[in-house]
């Protein structure tokens, strides 16, 4: 077992994780900012470093369809996409999940048009949150690498058998060079193990039907099963994180807390903005401010009670959403967390901050400003504006 430190982009390390996993089939279509995941992986294929059957397709609808076919045939299948590509897969996302095919997909988060934009926000994967896939968000390249490897085990676990999406922020992480500790090939190979499909279509001795028509007499029952399976994945995700710690030394949970225990105010935010927020927490802590952070990792299944409990001692919280639910009461993270707090029975004062749409930067001053506002809310117990937009010009 050896660990090597490399300087790579998020996309390079995602492709590297795929190489080490060595899936049976990859069907993918290039789209900014995911492109070099597929480009790099196709080099591995051309150089004979993987045994993967690489299917080049004419669209993402076909990419996900080919993944569904290959997974139903009994293969370990991976793909990658972003934004509009994910949108083009939309119908097939539901088919993959409802057919219980453990496909692993990297999604490099990018704004879903329009007007057309290629930079980061979470509107793409938030739109796909009800497709039945497990969704795991990564803060940086290291987490992207670690999450992709763990995703294989989560997806293929017998209690789960569901597709998994692993996300990281477009350009910020996908194209920024970061320091990553990578495992050796044998360790990854042994960790992911051999895939045993439940009902491979290629098993001609046991013919069966995939994807039959399912009307009002049984469709609802199949949906109810999906609810059970995705909820069952929560303890499985934790178990696999524990095993992963043994080979990597790195800790993973359903969410991460940073200086939260004795904090009075906190920010809740996904992905790369959590990194910036941690730097601000460090600065404010030096000034004696009791500030903290909670970064959800697993968004589906959403650990609503666990998060509500972890936030319950706070005086004020800002929940940051990098996507909008037009006409809804705040962003998706905000509504989920408020609903969880309601169920838990403790609702600290809270605000929702929409930020970073279409790649708009959020800097340390912006985040410090949010903590300052939280301090005032904690003092006065009054919220002036529940839903706010940070970084937009008035």
């Amino acid at each position: 077992m050896s660990i090597t430190t490399v300087a790579v982009t998020g996309n390079e390390v995602a492709a590297y994780a795929m190489k080490q996993i060595n899936p049976d089939v990859v069907a993918a279509y290039p789209i900014t900012p995911q492109t070099d995941v597929v480009e790099k992986f196709s080099e591995y294929v051309a150089d004979g470093l993987v045994n993967t059957e690489f299917i080049t397709v004419e669209s993402e609808h076909s990419a996900m369809s080919a993944c569904v076919g290959a997974a139903a045939a009994g293969g370990r299948v991976m793909t990658a996409t972003s934004a509009n590509g994910l949108a083009l897969m939309f119908e097939i996302l539901y088919i993959a999940a409802s057919s219980k095919l453990p496909i692993i997909m990297t999604v490099v988060n990018r704004a879903l048009s329009g007007p057309i934009n290629i930079h980061c926000d979470h509107s793409d994967t938030m739109a796909a949150r009800d497709a039945g896939w497990i969704q795991i968000y990564s803060e940086n390249a290291q987490e992207a690498y670690d999450n992709i490897i763990q995703a294989v085990r989560i997806a293929e676990n017998m209690k789960v058998r569901l597709p998994v999406m692993v996300m990281y922020d477009g350009f910020i992480i996908s194209h920024g060079i970061d320091r990553v500790d990578v495992l050796d090939d044998t360790t990854v190979h042994d960790f992911v193990g051999k895939y045993q499909p439940n009902y491979p279509l290629l098993d001609v001795e046991n013919p069966l039907t995939f994807g039959p028509l399912d009307l009002y007499d049984y469709y609802f029952e199949h949906k109810r099963q999906q609810v059970e399976d995705i909820n069952n994945s929560k303890p499985v995700i934790l178990e696999i994180a524990k095993e992963f710690r043994e080979i990597s030394g790195r800790e993973y949970d359903l969410f991460e807390t940073y200086q939260l225990e004795d904090a009075e105010t906190a920010i809740v935010v996904l992905s790369s903005a959590a990194g910036t927020s941690k730097a601000v927490v460090d600065q404010l802590r030096q000034e004696g401010k009791k500030v903290g952070l909670l970064k959800p990792r697993v968004f589906r299944p959403f650990p609503y009670l666990e998060i509500a409990q972890a936030l319950s001692h706070l005086k004020a919280i800002a929940i940051l959403d990098r996507s909008i639910s037009f006409g809804g009461f705040g962003g998706p993270l905000f509504t989920e967390i408020r609903s969880g707090m309601m169920e838990f029975g403790k609702t600290p004062e809270n605000i929702n901050i929409i930020f970073g749409l279409g790649g708009r930067d959020i800097n340390e001053q912006d985040i410090a400003g949010i903590y300052k506002q939280l301090e005032e809310i904690a003092k006065s117990g009054k919220v002036k504006e529940r839903i706010q937009y940070v970084g937009v010009r008035e």
Partner: protein, 105 residues
């Protein structure tokens, strides 16, 4: 009418999969029919064109000869009647047979 007890979500295969082969036979699509193909034995040359064309495998053939039509599964699409070279098959209103056969299917 016999109402079959339907299974709950814990009892059925996951993913909407159908695990046993050939069970489409249990689905009696004959109830969809509004017109019934009726074959005239005297005109039929046993060329088996209808057998080739029938999308529901409802032409019953034994030892190279048409023996009858499987009305449990024939949907009444009329392809056999249209394709039959000597026009040995006529499509008749299903209603007539139902009146004749009374309440039973």
């Amino acid at each position: 009418m016999i109402v079959k007890k339907q299974k709950g979500w814990k009892e059925i295969p996951k993913g909407g999969l159908i695990l046993e082969a050939g069970n489409a036979e249990q689905y009696e699509t004959g109830s969809w029919r509004s017109k019934r193909p009726v074959r005239d034995e005297n005109k039929c040359t046993h060329c088996l064109i209808c057998w080739v064309y029938c999308p529901d495998s409802s032409i019953i053939v034994e030892e190279g000869k048409v023996k009858g039509i499987d009305y449990q599964h024939c949907k009444g699409c009329g392809i056999c009647a249209a394709e039959c070279p000597p026009k040995a098959i006529t499509m008749k209103e299903e209603k007539e047979f139902q009146e004749k056969e009374g309440a039973k299917k």
